[in-house]
Subunit: 292 residues, 2 copies
């Protein structure tokens, strides 16, 4: 068990409120005054979550986008964000990108904290708060045998963007630097889905998490998965286990057509020995990005 | 202007929602479904907010306590916390202290994020969410000339505890390591106060912030301020500008007696040239802990 896995297992003992969803979901969900409040907090660390030398405006955008993507997976409308900011090399440029992201997604900054740097890597956190558009609020655990498995858009664009930044090539890097959370899609889908989550760590890994939370197997057909147009066919398997595209993964009863653009990539079956199958077999190699 | 002051000034341009309270309050306050939701996020950095070698259980306790103290200043009942955790040297010990603090204050862990360390200082964040017990929710800006100025308990204990840890003496360090947010007091006071905040950066500095937010002067009598019994009289001026005691500072109309134990330390006057006076004069020297 990795250090992170052991730590989260220990935390789970403290997360006894039903609102915590056993720390196994993208968000906490609090019932309050006739509303369901959806909360998430994600951190980003220099050198771990962004490349040294990255534009601080892109870092700010991504910090907002990854948190709003968690709200999207709950079908929630964002109410605001709190920023935890460690001062860095170009704070003015960070504020520019933050302002662009908040304006793009119509979300206000509500508060937070600023600290001077210690030694070493700049570390940032963001808490996003939303209001569920539909109750019950979708979880990862409701997929049922017979459901269709869907995603909202193509994979691989973020991977190509990351590699272009890393290698200094002139491939378009927008998909990696400026992901767009599927907020409207999440709200439209929330009343219909049996399970929903965002794809942040790789389709195969995230699908296996959904399958395990739901007690089912998710069977994906590789040919049905949409990929970024620029992705060479030889890289498709890589793109299936690469995160950062922030599309939504969801399951629907077989008779239902999604009310938002989406691609049907497989079906849910009763639980077999493997949580996820790719073209009928347990996928070889890495399923996605696992923290160590 | 310091880096942090410039950054916060730039952020203020993005915090246009009334819920953000101009980033000039301890918390954001969102009206939702007939309730007022109170949110705060504070960070702590190794070497900046805690001494190298500190017990991770104490760090966890303090991270919870400083955030709940912000809720206390709004008279809010905590609903839960989200933890942003960078893995460190003794994560099991951190979980122990976290569990002790959450149990002591009856607050559930709702979620959060864990990241592997980059290089350098461990950095932590915590978001606390509460439900206001009384509306309107107290702010820093309502103090009026003629009000009494009060604090809920003695100052200087945290300073002595910090110095004992730093110098390795055998003075009791509990006040610094394990502060107790004044949650019950805050809820009892919220319906009556004209302004309230917690003392985190030093009484004189925090009083000057309240005075500036309210457009008044706060006149404090040094002899009326309660101090920790162990504080030598020669250290009283230091204790007035040392934070971390997490008592509540509040103002009340002159005819009202507080419903919680508290000490009347001065009065509010109309705005003079200085936001805070100590025995009738502008205090010489540092008012409190200012981030650089």
């Amino acid at each position: 068990m990795s250090g992170e896995a052991a730590f989260i297992a220990a935390l789970r003992g403290l997360a006894t409120s039903s609102a915590a969803r056993g720390l196994a979901d993208d968000c906490a969900v609090i019932d309050l005054g006739g509303e369901a409040l959806v909360l998430t907090h994600d951190m980003m660390v220099e050198g771990v979550h962004w490349l040294p030398g990255a534009d601080p405006a892109d870092v700010a955008w991504k910090l907002v986008a990854v948190n709003l993507s968690d709200l999207a997976a709950k079908g929630a409308q964002p109410l605001g964000v709190l920023l935890g900011y460690m001062l860095g090399d170009n704070d003015a440029r960070f504020v520019e990108g933050l302002g662009e992201a908040l304006a793009a997604f119509s979300v206000p900054l509500l508060g937070g904290d600023t600290v001077s740097a210690g030694s070493g890597a700049q570390t940032l956190g963001l808490t996003a708060i939303g209001r569920a558009a539909h109750r019950p609020v979708p979880s990862r655990s409701g997929a049922r045998a017979g459901d269709g498995v869907w995603i909202t858009g193509p994979l691989g664009g973020a991977m190509l963007g990351f590699e272009a930044l890393r290698d200094g090539t002139d491939t378009d890097t927008t998909a990696f630097r400026r992901p767009v959370p599927r907020l409207a899609e999440g709200r439209a889908l929330a009343p219909l889905v049996t399970a929903m989550m965002d794809i942040s760590d790789g389709l195969l890994l995230d699908a296996s998490r959904m399958a395990q939370a739901s007690g089912v197997t998710i069977a994906i057909e590789a040919d049905a998965v949409p990929f970024a147009p620029a992705l060479p066919p030889g890289r498709r398997r890589d793109a299936l286990s690469w995160g950062d595209d922030y599309e939504l993964l969801f399951t629907l009863p077989p008779t239902i057509t999604p009310p938002a653009p989406a691609f049907r990539i497989g079906i849910v079956t009763s639980a077999g020995p493997d949580p996820v199958l790719l073209d009928g077999c347990a996928p070889a190699g890495q399923l996605g990005y696992e923290h160590t």
